[in-house]
Symmetry: C2
Subunit: 463 residues, 2 copies
């Protein structure tokens, strides 16, 4: 039998760890000595002594006549400390930072956007010149709560073209596609809720869900969409609140949802109360239209979001969300409370850029350039025995398998020393089952040096 | 004694309300039938029947061999449904929406910003023309994780002028001052944490804290800052995590923190682990510099935030936060996870606008116009026996007491019918003790019709 000293230490350690995990949040009243003693099956005197020692340490404090309370300050929310500790090379936030921090001189085949020279530069210059002559409220005033009406009307017409019926009143502008998903998470999630994501999926979804203290569960992605049997099993096992996915072209695989998979997913969602968030950010890269869940569902349990960061400008922050009118009303409240409103000027610049005929021509050219870059990049990768999981019909990404046994994080680490930023597979994989994959952005893979550096890294690895 | 039917209904009702309040969150396993029966002091058969009926309704479902689980979807986070139900007229979100929705033709003495004609229109036009000639990355690329380096350097120099030592690496750009506070709340708060605010304070702080499910506690505001004795008592009673306040000119009262109050607050904060967020959004309206808590404290436990929405443009979204370097690092992660980054273009336009000599002259003129408008508005209000709580030395707001017994929400409701948007006191007051107050924005009070409408409303009220 353990001595009282050991038992006191054990109680102290238990309480310290509950404070650290916020099971006992700052300012919270601790269970009474009697209740704690009963719960831990220890004597009251042991618990009293442990409480007194913790109070002497400052971890808790006594309020005469009222009991013991947790002291502040508690540990703040550090995303890097939530969940399993990741290698920097597969930490979604680290990859984002790395891509955002490095200058244009560094080849970034791992990054998630087009080079600035591929973006809609002419259109942006034209739109900015027009804004310099705009009325004073466009230059100085907050926007309306939902956001610029003519831009919302334009978005409604664009959605109608993919079969999604959304009235302009069902569309709210945001500062980005990411912010759109963030507001939806604020609206629908509680800490501890489960969210389904594709495995692999856009790595920032993992970081975003961490910030909401949600539990992400990955569903294996197939060339036709998520694996329906795994999806059904996850619904049964985890009772998830949300499923977040891409429409049009899937990130990172470049795959396309098939109509039959879309229909099955919606049937399963119907039976379980699941809400689906469909991120349509790659819409304008499509060459043949894929099904939209929001079109099948009629914006009942599907929320449709998007932005133009990948096609017009990432410097300009403007995204949108289309959803049930009653949900939009609550999302507007959350937007005002947390950012006061989206950018009126950004929305006005975007509207001017999108409504000029130059945008259609610009995107035709981008799709053409991407198709060429896709062929060239895939051919170059194949010479290194790096094989595409599938050759996507459109878009900027190709998801590739390294030669057998090669670890993508190791290769990424090695290439970074030579100033080439890669995106290793496990950053995209909730189950961490993509160690043998890399995502390449074909628009950022034109520099021959990338393949020399890759070849050297593979050789050094012994592949 | 009640019959079994009644008891079954009672159990069902209890469980339904626990599901609604998320005491039983979606996907959670319900207590076993035996445990529930024991806790409710009912027979096992009563609980079994209640569970079965709830399962038949779809509220919960049975998993063979495992028990009963709550079905989705749960009630989402509707800000309008958290906390006490407010009259629309004193609901902070409703006031924000009302001000944001109404056109420029409607007089809005209750709104929180300058008319567009008072803003830095020339500077904005000049900056936009310059941007139309900028390099492609400014037009198209994401910004760096911290945000535009030369703007952060400028902000560091501006802070130095009010005694705040912040290296550019300790400054992170955001999309607004509100977003800066939101990210800090995400970093430091857990649901249920207590936050001190001034009573009265900027009403959107209430909405923001609701969105974080934090508990706000109001500290009465005096002409020299928060009431120190009440502040000390609140620290003892509530163990708050944060205190959010204005520096420079207090919103809504126009009061200024005195050095002795600042010093006492910081001493109290030191002893309790409290973090203070100081919102410096009204800095450029100051005619004589007030003390900054961040200057006294050296950015140790004070976080300094601000934006230029009130002076340059609200259409352009750009704010900032200055804090300890290790906190900034975590805030960058949260910013990337939840919005991917702040607007590169907005930061570039703001930098161009602020670095032109026209900005200093513009603000001189604004301060002059505000001083004139303050005198005129106060004189007009006094003819209606509406008295300033104090006549602020600078800024756009004057906090006014209505004639004895008159209810500001009633007056606001009545004036709204005549298309005049007012800001009634209780929207700013956590304790709801400001029913006799209105906040006037003197820059929006030039229209004589406002005072006619007010006079009629007061008369109708019987004042």
């Amino acid at each position: 039998m353990k001595g009282q000293g050991t038992r006191i230490d054990a109680v102290m350690e238990t309480i310290r760890s509950r404070i650290a995990s916020r099971a006992y949040p700052p300012g919270a009243r601790l269970p009474s000595v009697r209740a704690q003693a009963q719960a831990m099956r220890l004597s009251v005197s042991t618990v009293v002594e442990a409480y007194e020692r913790l109070a002497a340490e400052g971890a808790i404090r006594s309020r005469p006549g009222s009991g013991f309370y947790v002291s502040g300050p508690a540990a703040p929310l550090a995303l890097s400390e939530i969940g399993p500790k990741l290698d920097r090379e597969v930490d979604p936030l680290w990859i984002s930072r790395q891509s955002l921090e490095t200058g244009d001189a560094v080849p970034k085949p791992g990054c998630g956007w087009l080079p600035p020279a591929w973006m809609y530069e002419d259109g942006m210059r034209r739109a900015l010149r027009a804004m310099a002559r705009a009325d004073a409220p466009v230059l100085a005033d907050y926007g309306t709560p939902l956001g610029l009406p003519p831009l919302r009307q334009l978005l409604a017409r664009r959605m109608a073209a993919t079969g999604i019926e959304a009235a302009p009143e069902q569309i709210m502008l945001t500062d980005s596609g990411t912010q759109a998903i963030d507001l939806i998470c604020r609206f629908l999630l509680e800490p501890g809720d489960t969210v389904l994501v594709d495995d692999p999926c856009y790595f920032n979804f993992h970081a975003l869900l961490k910030a909401h203290r949600a539990k992400a569960v990955g569903i294996p992605y197939t060339p036709n969409g998520p694996d329906v049997a795994a999806f059904e099993a996850a619904l049964r096992e985890h009772a998830p609140r949300l499923y977040i996915t891409n429409s049009a072209i899937h990130n990172p695989t470049g795959a396309t949802l098939s109509p039959v998979t879309a229909h099955r997913l919606l049937k399963l969602a119907d039976g379980s109360g699941l809400v689906i968030v469909e991120d349509d950010i790659f819409a304008d890269f499509e060459t043949a239209p894929a099904p939209r869940l929001a079109a099948f569902d009629g914006l009942d349990r599907v929320i449709h979001i998007g932005s133009f960061s990948k096609t017009v400008s990432a410097s300009l922050r403007c995204g949108y969300v289309a959803a049930r009118a009653d949900w939009i009303d609550n999302l507007v409240d959350l937007k005002i409370a947390t950012t006061f409103g989206n950018g009126h000027l950004a929305a006005s610049v975007l509207l001017a850029a999108l409504t000029h005929s130059g945008y259609r021509k610009h995107m035709e050219e981008v799709r053409h350039r991407l198709a060429e870059a896709m062929d060239k990049t895939v051919a170059r990768l194949r010479t290194l025995d790096i094989q595409p999981w599938l050759v996507p019909p459109a878009g900027m990404f190709v998801w590739c398998r390294l030669p057998d046994g090669v670890d993508a994080a190791d290769i990424a680490r090695s290439c970074l020393k030579d100033d080439v930023v890669l995106a290793p597979g496990n950053a995209f994989s909730q189950s961490r089952s993509a160690a043998g994959f890399l995502r390449f952005n074909v628009s950022q893979s034109g520099d021959g040096r990338i393949f020399q550096v890759l070849a050297r890294a593979l050789e050094a690895w012994g592949a």
